[in-house]
Symmetry: C2
Subunit: 206 residues, 2 copies
């Protein structure tokens, strides 16, 4: 766990340079890889979905606000846990941030130990998310090998139709359905219908 935490990056986006520096100092004393940005746009340009870690985000910034960045990130599918940092005790802002999926919302001045504790929790969540996500991608890639026709057959099989019904439904011979089924079995590397259903349901969105 600590090995992966060292590969993870803590991103810091804050327009206040002294704040960036003091956070960087704190994080590096904990051996956390740190990357700082002075505005939202800079972060967005250098941010890749593959990089794991978490994001410390100042709410109030000139240009794009932290809140806007948070909402942009969530909308664009970036799953990085975001810890919002606010200088002013603004309850509606905190509620809005959490409703938009922020991992946490803390106020300045903050306690160093508390911040670190929340960062570690965020990193742990991110790691868990990424593990799940990579398993999901592995399963999805199996379905990528299927042709359109085979996917049609998969969904009809998963829905509980026997080959005869599938054949009628697609207007083809039951024999051809069996051929498709065999190819599906081989490509998905499964041997029973139950496994097909499990696999298909575990990648709901495909």
């Amino acid at each position: 766990m600590s090995e992966n935490a060292e590969q993870a990056m803590v991103f810091v986006v804050d327009d206040d340079e002294s704040m960036r520096d003091s956070i960087r100092l704190l994080l590096e004393s904990e051996h956390l890889k740190t990357s700082t940005f002075s505005c939202a746009l800079d972060f967005m340009q250098s941010c890749t979905p593959r990089q794991g870690g978490c994001l410390l985000l100042d709410v109030r910034m000139p240009g794009m606000s932290g809140m806007e960045l948070l909402e942009t990130l969530k909308a664009s599918g970036i799953l990085l846990p975001v810890i919002m940092i606010s200088g002013h005790g603004d309850v509606p802002m905190a509620v809005r941030a959490l409703k938009h999926g922020a991992f946490d919302f803390i106020q300045k001045p903050f306690n160093s130990r508390e911040l670190l504790e929340r960062i570690h929790a965020a990193l742990e969540l991110d790691q868990k998310n990424r593990r799940q996500n990579s398993e999901n991608e592995q399963r999805r890639s199996l379905f990528m090998a299927l042709t359109d026709r085979e996917m049609e057959v998969v969904d009809l099989v998963v829905a509980g139709n026997p080959s005869k019904i599938i054949a009628k439904s697609l207007g083809i011979s039951p024999k051809t359905v069996d051929i498709h089924r065999a190819n599906i079995m081989r490509k998905l590397d499964v041997h029973t219908v139950a496994e097909i259903v499990q696999l298909r349901l575990s990648v709901r969105d495909a």
Copy 2:
């Protein structure tokens, strides 16, 4: 939708009588069924999981606080959406409430229109939750009809084992497994393995 909203109950828990009265007045002017309580314990005693609706909950109260009640309710599986109401702009409190599953967190003094809008949103969520939950209960009740042995067979089938393997795994004859499978099919009212798997996966916790 509005018919169901009228069957729903808006619970109000607040130690301040004038606040309870003014909220009740506001809600009843919107034809919302309202039930008020002056403390957390009173609410807990009269609260049943079956009653749909939402809960307006004052954070600061003598005795059990609103925050404690929120956490107690969530821990005991009450799925009522909770709108926390706070007199003091306390960010950590808001964060804690939302992290514990509160639907919203608003501050006094609040705008009547906004409160009503959030209540309606909460009632809608509750209705959606209850619809999902009742479908889930219907499915679960199907599995209740199965014997322990049949459940074992179900899980082995869902895992993708053919009858022969299941028989070896349970130390019984393949013939007996087939009997169990037939009984399972009949009791669950399905006709294919795919349907068993779908049904079983849709009630994960059973």
